[in-house]
């Protein structure tokens, strides 16, 4: 056996060189650890968001918030007698802050509290609702007959002496605008998706798809401003309703924002139906439309469903459009009344709040609900689409 060809460059015949001891790569190792570290931090951050929003809302879910106008007062003279833990909670201090304060400071804080209680005007103090904790579950959900009202009512009125936090009007507002948006957007987007994926010539397709992508690229404040300036007037002149800015206008404008999403998902699902289905239909004499309607659409129906579900998630989470167009928290089924959605409420009221106050926590609770709803819709949409694609690709 010949040993080696002469002109061979550096052929290493000593195979023990493949042992790692001689080949440790510190840079490589470090870089991999860094990639790992950054990714884990990012992923942990993602989960942190779930936790944080939920944590801020937790006291509401547990019914531990207290938004009563008149709260029990501990006289400042009793500063030495009260248990420290009770005192800390009474003053709403963190453990660290509380530990750092001497008794005089605590006493001063208690006096401030006493003075504050005295500042509540007499008429408010005598209000029978002054002892009602509006942030309790019962008042969040069930109607309550507030003083001055003749019937139990659903009222969201977080500012004022007596805070009223009934969230039902907000849910109704969200539902109203979202459903109007979907009723408007879904048929349009689906029909367009069917046309673009099955019927349109390739050149038309190449123009329509970037166009719809562009529609998706319009910021929602811009859609909101357009609805305020132009759309509201047009719709009013067509439908002749009373209030110019209302849930209906907001819903249609929401539809503008939802169309691109529903379109792209539905189009994707329709396109993933194998071409052979269509060819088979055409071969037995169906028209392109009949093939699209009778073969492609039924095959892709889960994708259409997913598009609608995801569109719902997108619409219910949209903020700026509804915020600009309408925002009065009215409890009404009338489409042409104003409506305040969950998102708008958060956007309009979060700005000035004291962290940890009942109102603040209730807004986080609304955020958590929103989070959960959209997370669920996304999950359903994803699962349905993946299943569909796997089935159409023939992998079960």
């Amino acid at each position: 056996m010949t040993e080696s060809t002469p002109e061979q460059r550096g052929v290493d015949r000593d195979w023990s060189g493949i042992r790692r001891a001689a080949n440790f790569r510190p840079v490589e190792w470090l870089a991999e650890k860094m990639i790992q570290g950054v990714s884990f931090t990012a992923i942990a951050g993602v989960f942190l968001i779930f936790l944080f929003v939920g944590k801020e809302a937790l006291p509401v879910f547990l019914g531990q918030t207290d938004s009563r106008l008149i709260q029990p007062i501990i006289p400042s003279s009793e500063v030495a007698k009260v248990k420290p833990e009770v005192l800390r909670q009474y003053l709403g201090l963190s453990v660290r802050d509380f530990a750092a304060m001497d008794q005089d400071t605590l006493k001063e804080l208690m006096q401030v509290r006493e003075e504050g209680a005295k500042d509540i005007p007499e008429y408010a103090r005598s209000d029978p609702d002054s002892g009602v904790n509006g942030s309790g579950w019962r008042y969040l959900i069930a109607p309550h007959q507030w003083s001055g009202n003749e019937h139990p009512e659903y009222i969201w009125q977080p500012v004022g002496n007596i805070q009223k936090f009934n969230i039902i009007p907000l849910f109704l507002g969200s539902l109203k605008t979202t459903l109007i948006g979907l009723f408007f957007a879904v048929p349009l987007a689906l029909a367009a998706a069917l046309y673009v994926s099955q019927l349109a010539p390739v050149r038309v397709k190449e123009w329509v798809k970037p166009g719809i992508e562009m529609l998706a690229g319009i910021p929602s404040v811009v859609v909101g401003a357009f609805a305020l300036l132009v759309l509201a007037t047009w719709l009013q002149s067509i439908f002749h309703y009373q209030v110019r800015l209302n849930a209906f206008v907001a819903g249609i404008a929401l539809g503008f924002a939802v169309i691109p999403l529903v379109f792209s998902i539905a189009e994707d699902a329709l396109t993933s139906v194998p071409k052979s289905y269509v060819q088979a239909a055409l071969a037995v004499g169906a028209s392109r439309w009949q093939a699209a309607r009778d073969i492609v659409l039924p095959a892709a129906i889960p994708g259409v469903f997913a598009a609608v579900v995801l569109g719902f998630g997108r619409a219910i989470g949209e903020t700026m459009i509804v915020l600009i167009v309408c925002s009065a928290p009215v409890m009404s089924w009338n489409l042409f009344d104003s409506a305040r959605s969950i998102t708008t409420t958060i956007a309009a009221e979060m700005g000035e709040l004291v962290p940890g106050s009942p109102h603040y926590r209730i807004l986080f609770m609304l955020g958590t609900v929103l989070f959960a709803v959209t997370f669920l819709t996304n999950l359903i949409g994803d699962v349905v689409i993946n299943r569909l694609k796997r089935r159409l690709e023939g992998k079960r």
């Binding site: 990639i35 992923i43 951050g45 987007a189 811009v222 132009v230 700026m320 929103l370 997370f375 996304n378």
Partner: protein, 318 residues
């Protein structure tokens, strides 16, 4: 046995009648498509027709007076600056972290294991969470918890970091865009044929060398497109910055990361919702919207153009 129905022999292949049902269906779906495009053109056309005339050098290059609802003193320089900076700072955070995470998920993590699947599902679902929820998160987490914490540590008497600020708004947007960037990057990484990785590894390249010299350069176009789209989306977002950094009015441009800033989208919202006289504010509103659209669409156009170009290049094999 009865004869199965057959086309009569006399029926010719030439078209004898119009299939009304099919024509109608096609027409209706075509009409829907046209209607959607019409919405796009009406919005854009409306903004351009009313917004373009408002554009002047003074409008884009001066700082407005306090009464920015007045046509003569209205201007958008600080908003252009504010929006640009917040997008820039966001990009600096989100692109490296997002790309690194995507590289980890596609190249390192075991793709079939349950935790990778959970992470992937969580990330892709987070991409669909409403932006207002991120705003809520940013206010509670960045402004109050982190910012407030920094103030406690440095012993600031008045809030220095524990208040809405450019940095917090940018970070909130970064967290919001992170899933989008990760998903887009993962997609373009996975689009690279396994053959290329194998070829590199079979030559004795390490995993890192393969990623840096073969995988990332080839995925770059996709990453770039996804990144730019995410950035342009973020440029127009208002909800996440409502309580993390945007200001109603400031006489000065932001000087440091803990300053508040004015923002094009937020300003649009203020003009639309708080103008004492909407008719008077209308031209200014159009002008502002026009500038905002110009900014987001130029970013979008860059992304779409880049993608088209790269696709063409890939097809021709250069």
């Amino acid at each position: 046995m009865s004869a199965s129905p057959r086309p009569e022999a006399s029926r010719s292949l030439s078209r004898t009648g119009i299939d009304w049902g099919s024509s109608l269906g096609t027409a209706v779906s075509l009409a829907a498509t046209v209607f959607i495009l019409l919405i796009l053109f009406v919005i854009l056309g409306n903004v351009v027709i009313h917004g373009l005339p408002q554009l002047s050098w003074r409008f884009v290059s001066t700082i407005p007076k306090k009464d920015f609802f007045d046509k003569d003193s209205a201007a958008v320089l600080p908003m252009i600056v504010g929006t640009s900076i917040r997008v820039l700072v966001m990009t600096v955070f989100v692109i490296p972290i997002g790309v690194t995470t995507a590289v980890y998920l596609t190249e390192y993590a075991r793709s079939n294991s349950w935790y990778t699947r959970v992470i992937r599902a969580a990330i892709s679902n987070l991409a669909g969470v409403p932006s207002i929820v991120f705003g809520l998160f940013g206010a509670g987490f960045f402004v109050h918890l982190i910012g407030g914490g920094i103030d406690d540590i440095i012993g600031a008497t008045s809030p220095k970091w524990g208040k809405p600020a450019l940095l917090w708004a940018s970070l909130t947007l970064a967290v919001m865009t992170l899933p989008v960037v990760i998903v887009a990057t993962e997609e373009s990484l996975r689009a690279i044929t396994p053959g290329l990785r194998e070829a590199s590894l079979a030559l004795g390249a390490t995993k890192l060398q393969t990623i840096l010299r073969i995988v990332l350069p080839n995925a770059l176009p996709g990453i770039l497109t996804g990144g730019i789209l995410a950035v342009s989306r973020a440029a127009g977002e208002v909800a996440p910055i409502l309580f993390t950094g945007a200001a109603y009015y400031l006489a000065d441009l932001p000087r440091s990361l803990n300053d508040q800033f004015m923002d094009l989208g937020y300003h649009t919202y203020i003009l639309a919702s708080q103008a004492p006289n909407i008719e008077k504010a209308r031209p200014i509103l159009y002008g502002t919207v026009f500038v905002l659209l110009l900014l987001t669409f130029s970013l979008n156009a860059v992304a779409i153009f880049a993608r088209a170009r790269i696709r063409r290049q890939m097809r021709s094999g250069h």
